[in-house]
């Protein structure tokens, strides 16, 4: 079964798009190096800001005919074919394919509100083409909107990026609770909270270290901790240049941390279990 990793947190600026894009590229790169026959990874951008789309394809000029919006608005029968038609190749890597977001997604939520089966409009067509990919990575918007719900319903593994700050770690349990609600409420037994990724970690800030220690010591959250990505200016420069962190500065501490994190996900893909 193809793993679908969704990066979600209702708090903005925690590094969802950065993590989703670099993870998607990292998985494709590592699978290829490991000799996997299929190293293709699909990145789905469900955020109307389209930041993940912009950095991975070099443009965010996608609209009614060639984006996730098109897929959501398609007839059920044609949705899978529409999805295939809307996928573009990333400028980062030939094996990284992107389903671009569009500012029109903002309106899509209103248009789909009240339509029966609306939350499945991504999961349904995706399930019909998913076996063509080794993994799927979904970037979500910073809210628990219909679009985020769609991403979660389509996913198998939820990963929660979080900054090591007090209020954010306090909200972590509520994020996990929300994901579990979707798992139970929408009867998605395949969806689970797979990990927590601490981002923008600054070891020189005592509060960051303290909170990370607390997280590690927590009976539930500690077991979910998958990686710690240090705060690193290479990340913002990479964005500015529309490059991955691996490509922009492979020696940066953030690059190494992301590589280790991706390694753990790839191991899960290979094992096919938790």
């Amino acid at each position: 079964m193809t793993r679908v990793f969704v990066f979600t947190n209702h708090k903005g600026g925690v590094g969802k798009s950065t993590s989703a894009t670099n993870t998607a590229l990292g998985i494709a790169g590592m699978l290829r190096r490991a000799g996997a026959p299929n190293a293709r990874v699909l990145l789905i951008d469900t955020d109307s800001q389209a930041h993940a789309t912009l950095v991975t394809t070099g443009t965010k000029d996608y609209g009614a005919d060639d984006s996730l919006y098109t897929v959501l608005m398609a007839d059920r029968q044609n949705a899978a074919q529409t999805l295939l038609n809307c996928i573009v190749q990333s400028t980062w890597d030939a094996d990284l394919h992107v389903l671009p977001a569009s500012p029109m997604l903002e309106g899509a939520e209103r248009e789909l509100m009240g339509i029966a089966g609306a939350p499945y409009r991504l999961a349904d067509p995706l399930s019909r083409i998913i076996n063509r990919y080794a993994a799927v990575v979904i970037d979500t918007r910073p809210s628990f909107s219909l679009m985020t719900e769609m991403g979660l319903i389509a996913a198998t593994d939820a990963i929660v990026p979080v900054e090591p700050r007090y209020l954010e770690t306090v909200g972590l349990m509520s994020v996990i609770g929300k994901i579990n609600d979707i798992r139970e409420g929408w009867r998605q037994p395949n969806l689970r909270v797979s990990g927590i990724l601490v981002t923008k970690m600054n070891t020189r800030i005592r509060g960051h270290n303290h909170l990370l220690d607390e997280l590690k010591g927590h009976s539930v959250l500690g077991k979910l901790l998958l990686g710690v990505v240090p705060a690193n200016e290479a990340v913002s420069y990479a964005h500015q240049n529309h490059q991955s962190i691996f490509n922009y500065d492979p020696k940066a501490s953030a690059s190494k941390a992301y590589a280790q994190f991706v390694g753990k996900l790839v191991q899960r893909i290979a094992k096919g279990g938790a």
Binding site: G35, A94, I129, A234, Y248, P250, G263, A270
Partner: protein, 398 residues
């Protein structure tokens, strides 16, 4: 600021983590097994060079040049059959009407002779109903030919099931599936023209023309010809007429085995069918004529091929009758050739047109000069006079 675009260093970084991953089980990611998956119908396409064609030629080319979608191609086929059926006095509106009515106990339908297109649609509808009622038991065999973001699978075997599923999806009520089709995915490196040939020849009902195309594909492949990705005219296959098994002895056994274990002589006969004209080939393929009935036709001039094939179909001629028909035709042509007027006779006839152009004394001098003797010249003239008398008699007879 660090230097940009360090693509070699990204390899180092991801490579080092990958090495850690592979420690203990280096093959854990490698998987070259044959997989069975359910694929979206739209991601699957028939092989344009598949010798065994399902659609009539015109639709085959229109579909493979992307002028028709699968649904449009089927719509055209249905319309084609509707016209043919109406002309034969059995019009229908719904494709399901092509199937016999289970409540009708009369055996009226069993004696009806269907046209090839009617038979094709009838078979596809039958297959579609089986798939609807019992599911698709036998998966298609496909090869992954995806390029970039274009995900596509080329059918190696099972094109009829592909068309039946489209028919079921778009033309028959009661389709509840999700637009997916079960397929055995063959790794690209395992796909080969030999494998396809074996699959084709293992099934009954492969027409002699399809066998001829199959033989051509095998020969062209082993001789290093590039097999195109799109539909090809018969001239492509006819290139095989210039090559033979002797050119690649090491492949002879494999080719004959892929062709269903045929003998060299029969292979040669099969390949020879490529000499038929385009129209004759299409007719023979549609009506599934066997090689023995087509063999004598090849010896005729190409302009007669279609006509003779049509007669074979219309009169349901046996191989013996076809042979007699073609040999008779050949003899007639030989007789025609025998009736040709010799050049010497034409010369004399031409000379008759110019009798006023020369004076008698000049002709006498020319005769003496040619024969060297007056008595001999006289003898020539007498012979000529006798000849002219005989000619005149024939003119009267004519």
């Amino acid at each position: 600021m660090p230097p940009k675009n360090q693509t070699h260093r990204i390899d180092d970084l991801l490579g080092s983590v990958t090495e850690e991953l592979l420690m203990g089980n280096p093959q854990q990611f490698e998987d070259n097994s044959i997989r069975v998956e359910r694929l979206l119908l739209e991601m699957v396409r028939p092989d344009p060079v598949q010798p065994r064609r399902v659609l009539p030629e015109q639709l085959h080319f229109a579909f493979h040049s992307n002028r028709l979608t699968p649904t449009q191609a089927l719509k055209e086929l249905v319309q084609l059959v509707q016209v043919a059926a109406r002309q034969r006095g059995r019009p229908f509106n719904n494709v399901l009407e092509l199937l016999p009515n289970p409540d009708d106990e009369s055996d009226e339908d069993s004696s009806v002779h269907l046209s090839p297109e009617e038979q094709l649609l009838h078979d596809l509808v039958n297959l579609a109903i089986t798939i609807r009622d019992d599911g698709q038991v036998n998966p298609l065999t496909v090869v992954d030919v995806s390029q970039g973001v274009t995900q596509q699978f080329r059918i190696e075997t099972g094109e009829r099931r592909y068309w039946a599923t489209w028919l079921l999806r778009d033309f028959i009520a009661g389709y509840n599936s999700d637009g997916m089709i079960p397929c055995i995915i063959i790794p690209t490196e395992r796909s080969s023209v030999f494998r396809q040939a074996k699959e084709n020849t293992a099934r009954s009902g492969l027409s002699a023309i399809a066998m001829a195309r199959q033989a051509a594909l095998l020969l062209l492949t082993v001789h290093g010809y590039q097999i195109p990705e799109n539909a090809v005219p018969n001239d492509f296959y006819r290139q095989a007429l210039d090559i033979d098994l002797r050119g690649k002895r090491e492949y002879t056994e494999a080719i004959l085995s892929a062709m269903g274990g045929v003998k060299k002589g029969y292979f040669s006969y099969i390949k020879n069918l490529l000499r038929l004209s385009d129209e004759a080939m299409e007719l023979a393929d549609r009506h599934n004529l066997d090689e023995r009935r087509l063999r004598p036709v090849v010896a005729l001039a190409p302009e007669y091929h279609a006509e003779v094939v049509r007669q074979i179909i219309d009169l349901n001629l046996t191989a013996k009758q076809v042979k007699e028909l073609c040999e008779g035709d050949l003899h007639e042509r030989e007789d025609d050739e025998q009736e040709k007027i010799p050049a010497s006779a034409l010369k004399i006839a031409k000379a008759a047109q110019t009798t006023t152009a020369a004076a008698p004394q000049d002709i006498a001098r020319a005769l003496i000069k040619q024969e060297g003797d007056t008595s001999l010249a006289r003898a020539r003239l007498q012979a000529l006079r006798k000849l002219l008398t005989d000619v005149e008699r024939y003119l009267v007879d004519e």
